[in-house]
Symmetry: C2
Subunit: 444 residues, 2 copies
């Protein structure tokens, strides 16, 4: 992408209304624009990262055996009257009346709708287990939206729903999501710790939150330090096999959010392994049994022909919120330092004197070769002065930057800068390009 | 995908409330489920095709130089008061009041919001031209939603917006989209004819609708038959070059929707080339100059430092509606016959006796090899009887079907069926697999 064609409205000043660093950086780097309280446009840079996060979340759902579909944003209120949640949900539900005076709402979550879909088609134990998910915009009319996309009103969520014949089988579905989440967050460059959680308004018996530790986290959390150091199970996990040992290995160690914290239990953790910190919730999984299937009559016949309410769970990942969480975990004073998996561009080319024949030719050559090499480079071909180009490249987190100017070219040199470490190398243009296309830095 | 794990609720009966074939087939093939009038869930099969359509639309926008972003679904009403459309839009606009009693709405289109974004950041002739697009759910509260996803209330639209310094430059942006649309619809297996169109409530001077001819089309259209036979410009078009000849070649021929029809002009077309038919609108492009930029004060300084309202256009593709249009154009009495580019699965494997060791083994082998070959097969591993499996495979449009049963296997044979032609071949399992992985049918 040529910057002159792109739409990257970076801000020089830190907006005064942004309290946390991810919100500040997303505004400064031209990733988002607020359209109303808690409602954002995703400008091209932010949108590009959001799509990469979404795709990783999708791939790990697919790998775990979940099937993608898509439910609409607007729902009929009657569904929520069936479950009894229409009145319970309170002011956070965005209620809508259509032209025919029917009560509708903007879905804050989809337990009711997916239960309605399931019960319409699935009647037998042969129809389960099922794991269905969608990635869709939700709306929760927060009283005080804040922290940018971390607590917005319109937000992108991946929600999965499991349907099983009994609790044993439901636990296997739960474990699939537990493991898939560990792998998902790991691919996103995040250390997310599963913590015993309160089930809140969704209800149910068994629930874990996945928490990223960060100073700006919204709540206090307590856990065994080993959980933070433990790696993810890895992408070669057999989801058809027994996942219980992988789950037990983690749930055996103390980890709880503030609401569930038990100081006496925590005290049993050896003192040097007791970790109390602030955390950001990026995922939440629930097993809630027949809480919805009973009132909504989602019944399946068991092997003896008796109708039984199906056992359900739901599993959420805050996709748009993850972008904020990733920036909280990966930045420095100059801007964002993306994990490779979600970097919006693989490299940058900075033309220090656009209009100079030699500089233009060298930049065009680098642009063509890095593009052909699959690096998806951003080429700063604008007439901005060098200092501004350096600042923008670091702010938006171009992981590798080839800096090309007439002076260096006279000596046959360009500069290759690594964003993460700040190190720079003086190289011939060819060497700089080859180092990138050959992936010499890719463990960076 | 194994069918036993998938969620494909096919219906045996044609639903009585579906009037047109695409709606009937989408319900019968388990692609969609209605959640309220004009509001649908996209079940896994429908969702998979929708995503493929969306991706083709995206690729052709990117190729034409448009930059993707994403605006939210919920918008503040004040934006629409600025343009004067808040009152004009009438009952079709879904109006919402949030918990703080602020007037909001579910966006039916995004001219106002993109103009607000543009004016916030772009102040100079150096900031244009810009072509920005997003693919987002919209809501229009139709009085009488019908024809399934063809005239729904919540629908997926790709909308692009162009910003230029003057009309000459704006026409170049218009031409980019004109050509991109021809290529887009061609890749989707559709012959879409650009027709002079009324500009309607969006306003403006220059506008074309892209119309797919189909018996079930919503409106009458009139055109020169050459337009239907003319191929798309092709993916190697140089979007930086002069596109006017490609546009002129088409606009020189008579083509108009009912509202714009001029019988006297049409009569000048030679009689054997006069085509009147019914059509489905799948795209609509507008140049509307300063209609929004003037009232909303989206001004850019020209080279002489004088502020000028920016010239704008907007360009829409009905992504979810396209799925209906494709089925209207590509089906037979048994079900859907997908264009290769959007087929949800590349092939099917039908196990005629699941549980039989030889059949299971041969199917598993085919499944592994077709998957490895990138065909993304659907494997019907259920205990349904053969007749039902044949019907489902044709209904959902599996383009190539390897049919495997114990009887054939005893003679070393399986059947390979081509959905489009109905032809079948008796082959060894190896030959059948190889014919597909080697793409022997891919011109099908």
């Amino acid at each position: 992408m040529r910057l002159s064609r792109y739409f990257l409205p970076v801000l020089k000043e830190t907006p005064s209304d942004a309290q946390i660093v991810s919100h500040q950086l997303m505004l400064r780097a031209g990733m988002i624009r607020q359209q109303a309280a808690g409602i954002y446009s995703w400008l091209p840079l932010g949108h590009k990262v959001l799509k990469k996060i979404e795709q990783i979340v999708r791939e790990e759902q697919d790998r775990a055996g979940a099937v993608e579909m898509l439910m609409p944003t607007v729902q009929p209120a009657d569904l929520w009257r069936e479950s009894g949640r229409y009145d319970d949900y309170g002011d956070e539900m965005l209620r809508i009346t259509d032209r025919h005076k029917r009560d509708m709402l903007y879905g804050p979550t989809n337990e009711e709708m997916i239960t309605e879909i399931f019960r319409s088609y699935c009647k037998s134990y042969k129809d389960v287990p099922k794991l269905l998910y969608h990635i869709q915009w939700k709306f929760r009319d927060e009283r005080r939206p804040r922290f940018g996309v971390m607590r917005g009103r319109e937000f992108l969520m991946k929600d999965t729903y499991s349907f099983d014949i009994d609790e044993d089988s439901a636990r296997k579905s739960y474990n699939r999501m537990f493991v898939a989440y560990l792998n998902t967050f790991s691919r996103l460059g995040l250390k997310a710790v599963p913590m015993k959680a309160d089930t809140g308004p969704i209800g149910g018996d068994l629930s874990h939150e996945f928490i990223v530790l960060a100073e700006t986290g919204e709540s206090e959390v307590f856990c065994h330090a080993d959980l933070v150091e433990m790696g993810a199970p890895g992408l070669d996990v057999d989801f058809e096999g027994d996942l219980q040992p992988l789950v037990d290995q983690r749930t055996a160690l103390y980890a709880a959010t503030e609401e569930m914290h038990d100081p006496a239990e925590f005290a049993k953790v050896s003192a040097d392994r007791q970790l109390s910190a602030r955390g950001i919730e990026v995922g939440h999984i629930f097993y809630f049994g027949t809480k919805y299937s009973e009132p909504m009559k989602a019944l399946v016949q068991d092997r003896d022909g008796r109708p039984q309410p199906v056992h359900m769970g739901s599993y959420g990942v805050g996709v748009s919120r993850l972008l904020g969480a990733i920036i909280e975990a990966h930045h420095d004073e100059k801007g964002v330092i993306w994990p490779e998996s979600v970097a919006p561009f693989g490299a940058g080319i900075l033309n220090l004197r656009a209009g100079d024949d030699a500089a233009d030719a060298a930049c065009e050559d680098a642009y063509a070769k890095l593009s052909a090499g699959g690096l998806d480079p951003l080429y700063d071909d604008t007439s901005e002065r060098p200092g501004g180009k350096f600042a923008t490249a670091d702010l938006i987190g171009l992981p590798y930057q080839i800096i090309i100017g007439p002076r260096g070219l006279k000596e046959g040199k360009v500069e290759l800068k690594v964003r993460r470490t700040g190190e720079t190398h003086e190289l011939s243009p060819e060497d700089a390009i080859n180092r990138l296309t050959e992936g010499a830095f890719l463990n960076g």
